[in-house]
Symmetry: C2
Subunit: 628 residues, 2 copies
């Protein structure tokens, strides 16, 4: 019997209500692992180029990886994928929690959903039992209510629920797919794809196990992580204060995105950082499947913002997006905004950055109350920020425009507002500042998912402080690379780090482990779970393969190098703050992007992976698809 | 203190008699490991393009690797390098035995020799003591005599000797550097470089150890090898019957190079194969430093050929080169030929193939007794074959022409003889037949060292028999590739296998271990010896780096893709034998070569690694060298 996978991909056609089984075989799982790899494979093989992302011909794919559900910290993740309604290109986003592990325990390696239901439905998976059920009573409900209702009607409190939320129903282009109420596959608008299929939820319950090939080997990795994670300053930090614990250090360095990235430090940073959260509204530390780290928050507040811990608590991205980026220094308001986004299924990053765009445009006089339905949009106004979240999710008033994402909204409005839309390929830029993380722009500009931090975060701080971190050494990067530098060494470092991250997105393993897992941990984990003799070379090639497939998909959808442009704002210096004067020279970053293309074996003219690159990755079928 | 290396490269200038020390640092050793990597580094950094390979400005480099001298089978190797007098390009060749380990035990990581002595000298290294000594009494002597003399005059029977032999003194362009009398760094004419420097020998004795970081980890690998190697059919075979044990299987498949590659099977194969050797002239199995496999032979014969076991016994390459390739079916004559080559320091491959070329030309009437000094050159004439070895080593008569290698000889003679010169870039083709090993031609045509098997052998048989071997699976090649196929899957397989081999040539680890060592063994060995956290990804990149440096060196010396051409003969089918009718279609192999270029990131027009490729490998300095 196979280990780490079941050789069972569930196929559901919501138009015909057909339920079927793919058994792609061991080679498939070893070649793609899961996550991005599996999503890329299905999208390239089955999607007709130019398909409407919100039409019946798009696929919605739930893709855990081979380590998902194995008894080791970091394995409680999966990816969701489709063609993106936000970018028009490759969409994938990952979520933690328990849903992915539960799907594996139910005996499934993933779900590929096609078609479109005529009436709202949900999918109920109990081990081999798969059923499409009426969801009209769930439509329009908040995520916590949906989960509670489903658990009740399915008679099992341990049912795990993935759902699209009201925002997905409304086809907000940056709607998320929510899991366990507070774990979002947030980016690239996958919730809208789910909503467009009238698929309200996927409820899962499994009674099995993820069988692993070598229990001792897996246990050794799991115990090592448990016993050592507190030695990592980063992991200790996120355990203590959540991911928002990093906020204050970014502010100190002048790289906390503030007021739509106009500034890099924020007066109110102290009041919204993770440490403050710990000391004020935190009621519980939460964690994902099998994970000892407990980086998740549960927060609670009463007046004026009724915050329910069932919706968890804000991550760093959320605090920065709804907080500093909107100029809001009220942590309880941010926590409430986080609750709204989780309840409605909105990506907190895009939500915050879209609102911040509107605020900047308003303050510059490019938007007026005539546009905003009378709203006075000012940075720092928490009530307006929260009101806009409601409007976006419900597609009401000005929120109906913002629900299109800042690029489309700006194109609709005109008047030069596009200049202030902090986006690449239509996706809002996450809350990491290239002016203190030189090279990150390469990822924002080139990522197949648009501006994205899930495979691009670039911790130059670590490199700058003398010793390159151990996992980069295990890949052969032996020298620290200066922070304020964009030359070839930086591009190489960026490429290797990105590949490491992308591997996490295939396995699918939590990226937080990067700070402590070396190549040996990853290899031992994969070997222990699957029984394969995989080397880090093989695994890095899976990662390169996944990226190449996503890039090939975008090429086929018409993306070209002209779409891979760094945002102009990062080439202008901050006027004040600790990073005052620092800019990412535009010509240098574009040169770096060009070099990154060539290092990846992507054609400089078309942006597509060359035939040779695809063949070298074993993607012979993609080479045929693109070049024959 | 460092493990696996001493951070001490010995520099010797024979023109000035200066002796100096390079301390290149840990990053250097981790980046290049040894062997090809170190040779490529020094040649690119220090050689002026266009330098005369036999002049004082060439370098001669002895380069063990980080695992050389560690207590594990396969670690008794090192590489020798220079600019080649045979090809005019990058030269490197590896040898087993004990010399490399002894150099490491003496506290040195390698020797870089420049200049040219006015009178014959030898180098005496006893730990830190390094001395250039007069060698006039050794000049012209046979290798066994030189070794015995040196041991006597140095008063230590355990002195290990590298030497150039009479052929090197005569600057035979395919002279080898001999170690322990019978371990040859045979290819690319390194003996001639040594001879041109009037450096007769390098005698070494060390009293130290190669300190390893984790003795248990190294011991575990060593014991595993000792306990399991007999489970490998290949290793059991070479233990029992030496490398020549494979000869009969090649004959059976119709791929034993016979009569200058005109045929693929040989009537006398049974009489010259390793099993016959075991049953007749074998007197002892020999082995290299720390190695449990004992694949080396010591053979003995009396009349008519006085064969002394001190010269070891013929490897497969030698038996095929002097035997089937020359049509000779007399094993004792072949053993005697092997002895002559080892005594004079001649590469047995080039020697046999040069003679076979002359025989074919003679039989075709392109050479006549006027050219050969009256010799009647016929395939199968052992006496003529042996006589020509003497002539070549002494540069006497017709042998003086053959000593130039078959390409230069043919160009001198003209009359269409070049057509029958089995060579690429001037180096004679080793005794592996692309018509049964589809894809091997890619290596023959493109290798920076000219036709070479030490990083190119392509065991399609293994792939053909259903299961790709385990070490290729650990790199992610999961499917067997059909033997008679030259498409993208084969090119990818070739590239990965070549990279694995090239890693052996950097580490420097015996390539025989490839059949049983997986990626984990290699990683554990490197980690255990050095204490680094190296992954297989890092190690494969070292290998790619070494190949890219050699390729860059050749580009700088004027080599271009037009020089990378598969031999026409392999595109013509055998007329009879088990592989009758099989040919390697010329257009297909050239297409495969083109794809291989692109997979490597080499420019199709110039053949040079692109700047992006060099940067991706961390070879920023080579990118500057070539492109700035």
């Amino acid at each position: 019997m196979p280990y780490g996978f079941h050789n069972k991909m569930l196929r559901v056609n919501l138009s015909t209500h057909e339920i079927a089984l793919d058994e792609p075989g061991e080679e498939f799982f070893r070649t793609y692992l899961g996550g991005w790899g599996v999503i890329g494979h299905y999208l390239l093989k089955e999607l007709v180029p130019g398909v409407d992302p919100l039409g019946p011909d798009n696929l919605l794919i739930f893709a855990p990886g081979v380590v998902t559900g194995a008894p080791v910290g970091g394995s409680g993740r999966h990816a969701v994928g489709a063609k993106s309604p936000l970018t028009g290109g490759f969409a994938a986003s990952e979520a933690g929690g328990f849903w992915g592990a539960e799907l594996k325990r139910a005996g499934w390696d993933g779900i590929v959903i096609s078609g479109q239901a005529e009436e709202p439905v949900y999918l109920w998976i109990k081990d081999d039992h798969v059923e499409i059920r009426d969801a009209s009573h769930l439509w329009g409900k908040k995520t916590a209510d949906v989960e509670a209702t489903l658990r009740k009607e399915l008679g099992d409190e341990r049912v795990r629920v993935a759902q699209c939320g009201l925002a997905g129903e409304s086809r907000v282009r940056f709607a998320s797919v929510m899991h366990d109420v507070n774990r979002a596959a947030g980016r690239t608008g996958l919730g809208a794809v789910m909503g467009s299929k009238s698929l309200k939820a996927v409820a899962v319950r499994g009674s099995g196990q993820v069988e692993v090939a070598d229990r001792d080997k897996v246990r050794t990795v799991a115990r090592w992580l448990r016993d050592h994670f507190m030695e990592s300053g980063y992991l200790r930090g996120i355990h203590n204060d959540g991911t928002a614990g990093i906020l204050i250090s970014l502010d100190v360095r002048g790289g906390l995105p503030t007021r739509n990235f106009q500034q890099g430090s924020f007066d109110g940073a102290e009041t919204i950082t993770g440490e403050t959260m710990t000391e004020s509204i935190l009621v519980e530390r939460d964690t994902c499947f099998a994970c000892p780290i407990y980086c998740k928050r549960c927060v609670e507040a009463a007046q004026p913002y009724q915050v329910d811990p069932v919706y968890g608590g804000p991550e760093y991205e959320t605090v920065a997006a709804l907080g500093s980026c909107c100029g809001v220094d009220d942590l309880e308001a941010i926590a409430y905004g986080n609750q709204l986004c989780n309840a409605y299924g909105l990506d907190t990053i895009s939500t915050g950055v879209v609102i911040a765009w509107a605020m900047e445009c308003f303050e510059r006089g490019l938007l007026t109350p005539v546009d905003t339905g009378g709203l006075d949009l000012r940075f720092g106004d928490a009530a307006v920020m929260l009101g806009l979240i409601e409007q976006i999710a419900n597609r009401q008033g000005f929120g109906n425009l913002l629900a299109e994402g800042c690029l489309r909204a700006a194109q609709e409005i005109g008047r030069g507002t596009e200049r202030y839309a902090m986006q690449v390929k239509g996706q809002e830029i996450p809350l990491h500042e290239p002016r203190i993380k030189f090279g990150l722009d390469i990822g924002y500009a080139t990522s197949p998912t648009g501006a994205d931090h899930m495979h691009n975060v670039h911790d130059t701080a670590l490199a700058r402080e003398g010793a390159p971190i151990q996992n980069m050494r295990s890949l052969g990067i032996l020298q620290p690379v200066a922070a304020d530098y964009l030359g070839p060494e930086k591009v190489r470092l960026f490429k290797y780090r990105q590949a490491w991250r992308m591997l996490d997105n295939c396995l699918t393993l939590c990226m937080m482990m990067r700070d402590i897992f070396g190549a040996d941990h990853i290899c031992n984990l994969v070997q222990g779970v699957t029984g394969w003799n995989s080397s880090m070379f093989e695994l890095m090639k899976v990662s390169e393969r996944a990226l190449a497939m996503a890039q090939a998909f975008n090429y086929r959808e018409g993306f070209r190098p002209k779409d891979d442009v760094a945002h102009w704002r990062f080439s202008t210096p901050f006027e004040d703050g600790p990073a005052a004067g620092v800019r990412v020279p535009h010509e240098e970053i574009q040169r770096a992007i060009q070099l990154y293309y060539e290092m990846n074996g992507w054609d400089s003219d078309t942006g597509a992976p060359t035939a040779a690159t695809l063949h070298e990755l074993g993607l012979h079928w993609v080479a045929e698809l693109l070049y024959e």
